[in-house]
């Protein structure tokens, strides 16, 4: 080969390379500058992934030493399909037959769901566990894929259901603490924008945005799982024994206002909340108002003692159990000719309590009602609380003061009534009840802290002391609440047996039986209210609610290690 030939070849090679390079340049210019915008965008989109990163809703933990989780999010999967692809591959029949038995769905039903050749997406099943997903994905069916999701789980099922509430399918709190603390629990979703490689796998190095999700904070409750269980089992037994329509109870720490247990019957399984009936979901302890009956005598007598209008030994004529006032007859359950104020309370005399309230006067009595928080929400951190019913003073009739004193013509929630008794047990200080002890972010920051809060002081300390002594006599022999007495402890309390209001008057057969009390009387630690709706065959608070109170209180004092108030135990040398 001559030099000339070689040079010629090199020149041709250079020309060929130059042409190839020029071709590439032309193609690049065409693709980048001259291609249709939509086509270019479509190519761009195909290589881009934009997806939200799901975050876990925060946990809810109960307040015992164990700090057990009572609500948490677990990762699950939604099973999805591409019906068009299945139809194109002629696999609809085969996939339906293989997936149906695994999902517990008939293949025919599944086939009808998948037989939509015009659609590119269809849900097959929601929130299925990962072991089942693994089984399904092992089948390697084309057109079947999964999507990550989360499921709110309540490990205890129905326990604390009315307090915890639930979050819906979208992860939004819809009842109870789930609703009230939603802003803390929900966290914030993350976001990922990145590029995909030829195998449609995300390329880490091409991440445009990678915003990590902020997990929801943990909510710690004041509720104690063990106490709650004691209360719930006691209510279950009471429902069965009394063939009641409903029952509810609250245990509260007197000095702080913390709610240690709150339970209602009927209840429901939080994991199956969609199948629960509305009456099962009602948090009666704060959301159902009722006429408190004789338990309300606490307010009337406390007001009279605080005003110095009566003394505990003052004698009242109780009219042998029948007294006509302003043309309306008032009766006592047991008839007495005369009783001291102490015995009016101990024997629960309606006539005595009415006469005492009349002495107090309607203006003063109304003021005390307001100061005890009647007709006003307690402000507990739970949704659905009722304010109760307190008729404005200007609409009171002549007999209102005598009837409200015995718990008629006024309506309260169990929590309000418990608040009244708490104030008596707490030297007259009315505490705001609370159920959320604290909210802690994932990094340990305390976002919210529930703390004791004094709402008011309707009565003085000396009056409260007198009232505590009066209430202690109720559970002593001769009182109406002897079935609430606990060996070794002085228990203060009050029974209530209120006829349920019906159109035009009061029912002769349907009652609300209540017992509200606290212990130990000398140094009150906890208060408990128990209400039973329409118990059968007995209907008095002393026979129906007091034994439930006793059952709960007996276990609670041991569990909480509440000593009898006068310690006589060992002392150090």
């Amino acid at each position: 080969m001559t030099d000339r030939d070689r040079n010629t070849r090199l020149e041709w090679l250079a020309v060929a390379l130059a042409l190839a390079f020029a071709g590439l340049v032309v193609r690049l210019v065409y693709l980048h500058l001259l291609t249709d915008e939509t086509a270019r965008q479509s190519v761009e989109d195909k290589g881009t992934i934009v997806k939200p990163i799901l975050t876990g809703r925060g946990r809810i933990l109960e307040g015992s030493k164990a700090g057990n989780i009572v609500a948490l999010n677990v990762g699950m999967y939604d099973l999805c399909a591409d019906p068009a692809l299945l139809a194109k591959s002629n696999l609809t029949e085969k996939v339906s037959a293989s997936l149906g038995p695994l999902l517990g769905v008939s293949p025919e039903e599944l086939r009808s769901r998948l037989n939509q050749p015009e659609k590119r997406f269809a849900f097959i099943a929601h929130q299925i566990p990962d072991d089942l997903v693994r089984q399904i994905m092992d089948l390697k069916s084309p057109g079947i894929f999964t999507r990550e999701t989360t499921l709110r789980r309540y490990p205890q099922g129905g326990m604390m259901c009315h307090v915890l509430g639930f979050s819906n399918m979208e992860g939004v709190g819809s009842a109870g603490v789930e609703l009230i603390a939603d802003k803390y629990l929900k966290g914030s979703q993350g976001f990922l924008e990145s590029r995909l490689d030829g195998r449609r796998k995300e390329m880490y190095g091409w991440r445009v945005q990678d915003i990590q999700p902020q997990e929801g904070a943990d909510v710690y409750l004041t509720l104690d799982e063990n106490l709650q269980y004691m209360v719930e089992t006691a209510l279950d037994r009471a429902m069965e024994k009394n063939r009641a329509r409903g029952a509810w109870a609250i245990v509260q720490r007197i000095r702080t206002g913390e709610i240690l247990a709150l339970a209602n019957r009927p209840n429901f399984d939080l994991n199956e909340y969609r199948s629960a009936r509305s009456e099962q979901m009602l948090n009666r302890a704060i959301g159902q108002i009722f006429e408190p009956g004789s338990t309300f005598k606490v307010v009337a007598i406390a007001a009279a003692l605080n005003e110095g209008i009566v003394t505990t030994n003052q004698i009242f004529n109780t009219e042998n159990g029948r007294w006509s006032y302003m043309g309306k007859v008032l009766r006592d359950y047991h008839s007495y000719s005369q009783l001291t104020v102490s015995d009016v309370f101990k024997k629960s005399s309606n006539i005595g309590a009415a006469k005492i309230a009349i002495l107090v006067g309607k203006d003063t009595f109304f003021r005390y009602l307001k100061e005890f928080g009647i007709g006003r929400k307690t402000g507990v951190d739970l949704p659905g609380e009722e304010a109760g019913l307190l008729t404005p003073l200007e609409r009171w009739s002549g007999i209102s003061v005598s009837r409200i004193a015995i718990g008629q013509g006024v309506a309260v929630t169990a929590l309000q009534m418990l608040g009244v008794v708490n104030a008596v047990a707490n030297d007259g200080f009315l505490m705001k009840p609370y159920i959320i002890r604290r909210v802690v972010a994932k990094d340990g920051t305390v976002l919210y802290k529930g703390a004791p809060e004094v709402v008011g002081r309707p009565i003085r300390g000396d009056t409260a002391q007198k009232m505590r002594d009066l209430m202690a006599r109720v559970t002593e022999p001769g009182g109406t609440g002897t079935k609430a007495a606990i060996e070794g402890y002085r228990v203060g309390g009050k029974t209530g047996s209120a006829q349920k209001p019906v159109a035009g008057g009061y029912s002769e057969t349907d009652y609300m039986a209540t017992f509200v009390g606290f212990l130990p009387v000398e140094n009150p630690e906890i208060s408990i209210i128990v209400t039973v709706d329409e118990p059968q065959p007995f209907h008095t608070g002393g026979l129906v609610a007091a034994p439930i109170f006793k059952e709960i209180a007996e276990q609670a004092v041991r569990y909480l290690d509440i000593s009898p108030a006068t310690p006589t135990g060992l002392v150090g040398p």
């Binding site: 030099d3 070689r6 040079n7 090199l10 876990g56 164990a66 057990n68 989780i69 009572v70 948490l72 999010n73 677990v74 990762g75 990962d130 789980r153 490990p155 205890q156 326990m159 995300e202 390329m203 880490y204 190095g205 799982e225 063990n226 269980y229 004691m230 060996e487 070794g488 007996e554 276990q555 004092v557 041991r558 290690d561 509440i562 000593s563 009898p564 310690p567 006589t568 135990g569 060992l570 002392v571 150090g572 040398p573």
Partner: protein, 129 residues
């Protein structure tokens, strides 16, 4: 007519040395870049795999926590005791011995039977008081 420079013709086409060096440097840099890119991609894949693993483990942890909470729940404990034929009851007052430790001697004394019984508890002693 000028005579042909034979010496020059013998050398033929000479690739310019600076260009060759430049191309070599560029080629080396490109190779280095490719190596780094491959390493970065491998690390990216590893990070992604670890991220996925972390998600799985976190889910697993949550499930275990839930299960553990359930196992410790009073209802489950009671059911387990029942299954084993065990019956637990709260102690009666006369079955409880309250013992407290003195802050200095550490001696404990049993409650005299004639005295009213107290429930067991460890009493807090403020040592600096």
């Amino acid at each position: 007519m000028a005579r042909k420079n034979r010496k020059k013709n013998e050398q033929g086409f000479l690739f310019p040395i600076p260009l060759a060096v430049t191309l070599l440097v560029v080629a080396l840099l490109a190779l280095f870049h490719i190596c780094l890119k491959a390493r970065a991609d491998a690390l990216g894949r590893e990070i992604k795999a670890l991220e996925a693993r972390r998600v799985i483990l976190r889910d697993q942890l949550k499930k275990e926590e839930g299960e553990w909470s359930l196992l410790r729940s009073p209802a489950r404990v009671e059911a387990a005791l029942r299954e084993q034929g065990l019956v637990m009851a709260w102690p009666r007052r006369d079955q409880i011995v309250r013992i407290i430790c003195a802050p200095t001697s550490g001696r404990a004394r049993r409650l005299e039977p004639t005295q009213p019984m107290q429930y067991a508890q460890i009493q807090k002693v403020v040592l600096n008081d």
